[in-house]
């Protein structure tokens, strides 16, 4: 019996010839990420360990670790400012050179940096102190989110236990219509399988549509595998992956693909040509319907941001709708990384947003996780390119968030109500 790409990577990393779902393996880790929320959490774990007599003078491999300042930048108050200082001192102490600092060159949302900077390579195992670490699986890597204790353990030992997940295959076929984005596809999938539909499992995306999707669009699919509960989302690497990495890193890698006779616990097949733009209503990413079904519902705010919805192509798509128009509701655009922000300026996208009346802010997780920088008031209704809309996710527990593609969000921004993007294209 052959192995899937996920199984092959876990077998390689645990020095085994083969693994099958439900095996427990101890896998050697290739890359680790922490940010300004999980970092201080990991530091806290280290300090608890110190009280128990375990002192760490060095971590396993500082060159395999990077740090991102993204959740509470710009610092929202004294506590978050102190967290940045704590993290900065800690990264110096442990000689972690890849620390992407707010206001000091390239920085941005950790998941965006992982691909934008070519930090994770095909075939690698990458763990991050954030649930949307799954994003980077689009590079053909096994990318898994972990908590503070697990990350601290990896920083000490360079390895950790995994249960080999079953893989569900999602085959997407057909020519992608111009009004459909990867966001519509993944929302449709989550609507079908639910927020626990892939719990403990791997979600592998394949098919002729995925083969043609750009790297950034593929990253939207894997990003929101988290919202279906998946351990990881993954796409086998191909020429699009290699071309994307060529301009970003000269590190060598050994790409991995699944065997032809690999076994999947389930397969779902979609025809993208018949898909209408999709929206997730409050209060769950699985609560989906066609945008057309709720057209005209009034919205207070449009948010174009986050690792899921503010990559360069997301901004291009939003700009396509906003060009020469005026927004009718508060609209915020936050590119996902400094490099993307600069590209958006050079391409004229930022002018389009500003001329339309939107505000363009610095890269941050900010309001996506209800932390700061534009959180929602009680009863306020937001349409957002982000990935979660649980109660209180973007602000007050009685605020509401609709999740949709940048095209759908931009169409709502200029009309002040939910609008099928086909009416604006």
């Amino acid at each position: 019996m052959g192995m899937t790409i996920t199984e092959k990577i876990l077998a390689r990393a645990s020095n085994k010839k083969s693994v099958t779902p439900d095996d427990v393996v101890i896998a050697n880790i290739d890359k680790v990420m922490i940010h300004d929320v999980s970092g201080p959490g990991v530091i806290k774990v280290f300090s608890e360990w110190e009280k128990k007599g375990i002192n760490l003078d060095q971590i396993w491999d500082p060159d395999r670790v990077w740090i991102s300042e993204d959740h509470f930048v710009p610092a929202s108050d004294r506590i978050s400012a102190n967290n940045i200082t704590l993290l900065t001192n800690w990264s110096k102490k442990f000689n972690i050179r890849k620390h992407f600092k707010y206001g000091l060159g390239q920085y941005g949302i950790c998941h965006t940096l992982s691909h934008e900077e070519g930090l994770v390579l095909p075939g690698e195992i990458y763990v991050g102190g954030d649930s949307h670490t799954n994003t980077t699986g689009a590079m053909g890597a096994l990318a898994v989110g972990l908590g503070h204790t697990d990350i601290a353990y990896v920083l000490m030992n360079g390895k950790i236990w995994f249960k080999v997940p079953e893989t569900i295959r999602f085959t997407i076929n057909g020519d992608k219509p111009e009004y459909i984005m990867a966001k519509d596809i993944i929302l449709k999938i989550i609507g079908d399988i639910g927020t626990d539909g892939a719990n403990y499992k791997a979600m592998q995306f394949t098919g002729e549509t995925v083969d043609k999707l750009s790297m950034e669009e593929r990253l939207t699919l894997t990003n929101m595998s988290t919202e279906a509960g998946a351990k990881n989302g993954i796409i086998e690497p191909d020429d699009i992956t290699f071309e994307y990495l060529k301009t970003r890193t000269d590190m060598e890698f050994i790409p991995v693909k699944g065997d032809f006779d690999a076994s999947f616990s389930n397969t779902f097949t979609y025809d993208i040509e018949t898909l209408d733009p999709v929206i997730a209503k409050p209060y769950s990413p699985e609560n989906i319907c066609a945008v057309g079904d709720i057209e005209g519902e009034i919205i207070d705010k449009a948010y174009i941001g986050s690792c899921t919805g503010a990559k360069l192509e997301d901004l291009r798509m939003a700009a396509k709708i906003l060009k020469g128009k005026q927004v009718k509701i508060r609209t915020e655009v936050l590119p996902a990384a400094q490099s993307i922000y600069l590209k958006a300026i050079n391409e004229g996208l930022v002018s389009i947003f500003l001329e339309a009346g939107a505000v363009v802010g610095p890269p941050t997780c900010g309001a996506c996780c209800g932390a700061h920088m534009g959180v929602l008031a009680k009863d306020e209704i937001c349409i957002s390119t982000t990935n979660r809309n649980f109660p209180g996710r973007m602000g007050h527990v009685e605020s509401q968030t609709y999740l949709a593609s940048p095209l759908v969000v931009a169409a709502a921004a200029i009309n002040g109500k939910i609008t099928d993007p086909r009416n604006e294209m």
Partner: protein
């Protein structure tokens, strides 16, 4: 040793997510006691006042879905919760609860939920994989921990677990 006794706090809702267990603005806080004060604030603002040391939660399926924030099991542990009974858990929450040694994620048959009421006293026996509702005298099976989880639980967390 392997029997835990406590009182049930029932929140019979599926998909109780980490944004509800410990809302985003508290992510910057790493003082465990402070986090405990805000546990479950998104579903019950008075939660922390109701809990006594050693109490249990009973919830619907997919408890802890959403983010990887370890703040979630930390806040619940800090306020006194020692086990959560649910038909299923989101994977990162489950891992964090076990590897950090904060609390026990106990998987139960969905049909058991209706047979346990808020404030019932129960006993969890990890040797026989059963729970007894001492208020109603009913007994239920729980799903045994997989071997690795059982070992990490016994060790008191991943740090103390030896391969």
């Amino acid at each position: 040793m392997n029997i835990l006794r406590g009182r049930i706090h029932k929140y019979n809702k599926d998909n109780i997510d980490t944004d509800v267990i410990i809302p985003g603005p508290y992510l910057k806080i790493h003082d465990h006691k402070e986090l405990g004060k805000h546990a479950m604030e998104g579903i019950d603002p008075n939660f922390s006042e109701k809990i006594c040391e050693g109490d249990f939660l009973l919830t619907g399926k997919n408890f802890g879905c959403g983010s990887s924030r370890e703040h979630a099991p930390i806040a619940l542990h800090e306020v006194g919760i020692r086990a959560i009974l649910s038909p299923s858990f989101a994977r990162i929450f489950y891992r964090n609860a076990v590897d950090g040694g904060y609390l026990l994620p106990i998987e139960i048959d969905p049909a058991s939920i209706d047979k346990i009421s808020d404030k019932d006293e129960i006993e969890i026996d990890l040797d026989t994989n059963t729970i007894t509702n001492t208020t109603t005298r009913e007994e239920f099976n729980i799903k045994p921990f997989p071997e690795i989880i059982s070992k990490i639980v016994k060790a008191g967390g991943l740090l103390y677990y030896k391969e």
